[in-house]
């Protein structure tokens, strides 16, 4: 399966990873580091393993590519037993990213990225093309960066190269061990955004280990909250964990401001937005005025010919006026993309001098977000979580 992930066109999509009764016990230790873990990581999803240090999350991840050999249990990658192939061969088909990229300082960026393709005996031309393609993918200009050495790059850039190296041979599965732990918060945020963008294109199966719950919420399609011995305390989608933590351990891990974090996992476009009153720029002021009066709304959103919101027109502005509505009112300074999360929407609201912020999709107006919208969205999320079947609760306890 992994072997046909060649050629730049047909990128290998993710495959399912299944862990069955996976146990790792080190000799001389009473407790298993990883104790009977069973979980399924769906194809093409990012699953974040979170938990306190020493809970065995990294060990669990290393069991998948057999950097650590399990004491017992099974690992299936794309339905194939991971133990069937020699470990070195297996790992060439499983991308691996560690903190700071784990780049080899004595090799150029191109050499670092080409390591796995070379091990897979790709020819030179194809390898070189792939290196450039990968560098472009992670936003580094190949001509500029190919021949540099890792120490000439910033931490964030090194991390990107680390991701490029892991993806070079187009593995269906990517393991990431706290990859963004060592960079500053701003760079970290950017790298996270970029990983999400990459994932939209690539659909790999990504196992992401982190101790930062917020990072897990941001990146994970699912989150597995682990306690000691890698016990799965809760394994569910971020919104569900936030809205309905399985127990106090998870609650403690979410920390303060669970509701705020819930804002993070919801896209504005996915909640019920206020429609508002809209008007075309060419509409007559008097008509818009009467429509506002009828709808009992104080403001109208004036759209240009591309349906982009451009102006606010208040009922007072239009009182007794005629002519195109675009001649009255005040320009709209703040809009927000429907792809942004509710938290960003809330920030936009707090930062703007209006009670509403227009929401756009590809610059086109799709509705208004207000404090009310945010509040009712949160309530709705909570309701949904309560109605959901309690299937996600793991057997482990804190």
């Amino acid at each position: 399966m992994a072997d046909n992930g060649n050629g730049s066109g047909g990128a290998a999509h993710g495959v399912e990873i299944e862990l069955r009764n996976l146990t790792k016990k080190y000799p001389g230790q009473a407790k298993a580091a990883v104790d009977d873990v069973t979980m399924t990581i769906p194809a093409g999803e990012i699953v974040a393993l979170v938990g306190p240090s020493g809970c065995g999350k990294t060990t669990t991840m290393k069991l998948i590519n057999r950097l650590i050999e399990p004491t017992s249990g099974e690992i299936l990658i794309g339905g194939e037993d991971a133990r069937r192939r020699p470990a070195d061969i297996l790992r060439r088909h499983v991308g691996y990213v560690i903190q700071q990229g784990g780049l080899f300082p004595h090799m150029s960026i191109a050499e670092n990225v080409s390591l796995v393709p070379k091990m897979l005996k790709w020819d030179k031309k194809r390898t070189a093309e792939r290196v450039d393609e990968m560098l472009e993918l992670v936003g580094l200009d190949p001509a500029n960066y190919r021949d540099r050495f890792p120490r000439q790059l910033s931490g964030g850039q090194q991390q990107r190269v680390g991701v490029a190296r892991a993806l070079a041979a187009d593995p269906p599965v990517l393991l990431m061990d706290e990859p963004f732990g060592a960079v500053d918060p701003i760079t970290r945020g950017r790298l996270q955004d970029e990983l999400l963008r990459l994932q939209e294109e690539l659909h790999k199966t990504i196992v992401f280990v982190t101790h930062d719950f917020d990072e897990a919420v941001k990146l994970g399609d699912r989150i597995a909250v682990l306690s000691e011995g890698s016990h799965i305390v809760q394994y569910a989608e971020p919104a569900e964990i936030l809205a309905r933590p399985a127990n106090d351990f998870v609650r403690g891990f979410i920390g303060e401001g669970g509701a705020m974090k819930l804002l993070h996992v919801t896209r504005i476009a996915d909640v019920d937005l206020g429609a508002g009153v809209t008007a075309k720029a060419t509409d007559d002021a008097a008509t818009v005025h009467s429509r506002l009066a009828e709808a009992e709304e104080p403001w109208a959103v004036v759209l240009d010919k591309n349906s982009s919101p451009v102006q606010w027109a208040s009922i007072e502005d239009l009182d007794g006026k005629t002519g195109p509505v675009s001649e009255y009112g005040t320009p709209i300074t703040t809009t927000i993309s429907g792809r942004a999360d509710l938290q960003a929407g809330l920030e936009a609201l707090l930062g703007s001098d209006t009670d509403f912020v227009p929401v756009t999709r590809r610059r086109q107006y799709i509705g208004l977000v207000s404090l009310n919208t945010v509040q009712s969205a949160i309530q709705q999320l909570r309701e949904q979580a309560k109605q959901a079947a309690p299937a996600s609760v793991g057997e482990g306890s804190a």
Partner: protein, 262 residues
């Protein structure tokens, strides 16, 4: 120096890893010093009006043959030291060999800790005189710096790099040859350099057991009380040591993998 392998190993990394940042004038400085020393010695010898006895020893052809003998001793012993120290250092830095490390380092420490002259004479008494014995004595004496730096050089590598190598599917051997050894090169070379300089110095003692070398000029000078011969022999040994140190320094400079900070 006593047998204290632990403190030795602990103390070494900082000294070894730093490996002295060198400036460009180093390139010219050492050769210039060597030329000055040789010229000064020549002027001194001329001013002493050497007699016939001294002149036989101070002939260019004689000095050259002794210099070659000295180099031969050094090179042969040096090659053996590298053949022993580097593989042994690699072996001792592998997992599972940790227990053997203190023992081997203790032995190597004894080798260097014992007086060089003692080793040479003892070996000659126990075995025989001549070239082979001198080489063995030199190896025993000079193996430690190369061995220790090989080990330190490999041990100081960030473990996460080794794991990254294994994690992307490199075999243990590939990680050793493509990651660990290249990264350890600067430290290993610093050890080799120390070894070579030690060898030049100690090879001067091998004339005591009839193995030749520039040491002969020194002992002849002492025996015949010809100080010009004695001084010339010493100056030649010192200059040779400086020259080899300089060459090894160049090697360190140019063999250091690109991408690693000097």
């Amino acid at each position: 120096m006593t047998v204290a392998p632990d403190t030795e190993v602990a103390a070494q990394p900082s000294a070894a890893v730093k490996a002295k940042p060198r400036r460009t004038w180093y390139l010219i400085g050492t050769p210039l010093l060597i030329v000055c020393a040789l010229v000064a010695d020549w002027l001194y010898v001329r001013s002493t009006h050497p007699d016939a006895n001294a002149r036989t020893t101070l002939q260019t052809s004689y000095m050259l043959s002794k210099l070659l003998e000295h180099l031969e001793l050094t090179v042969v012993a040096g090659v053996f030291v590298l053949l022993i120290a580097i593989p042994l250092g690699i072996l001792l830095s592998r997992k599972g060999m940790r227990l053997a490390t203190p023992v081997v380092l203790a032995l190597a420490n004894i080798g260097q800790g014992a007086p060089a002259i003692g080793i040479i004479v003892l070996l000659a008494v126990l075995w025989k005189t001549g070239f082979e014995v001198a080489v063995v004595a030199l190896i025993i004496y000079a193996v430690l710096p190369s061995l220790r730096n090989t080990m330190v050089g490999l041990q100081q590598i960030d473990p996460s790099l080794k794991e990254a190598g294994r994690g992307i599917g490199m075999s243990a051997a590939a990680v050793l040859f493509k990651v660990e050894l290249p990264l350890a090169v600067p430290v290993i070379l610093a050890g080799v350099r120390t070894t070579l300089v030690l060898l030049i110095g100690v090879a001067a003692l091998s004339s005591l057991i009839g193995a030749g070398g520039l040491g002969e000029m020194i002992s002849t000078g002492v025996q015949l009380q010809r100080y010009n011969v004695l001084v010339t022999g010493s100056v030649l040994v010192a200059c040779l040591a400086l020259f080899v140190d300089w060459l090894a320094g160049l090697a360190e400079r140019y063999l250091r993998p690109k991408g690693i900070k000097a």
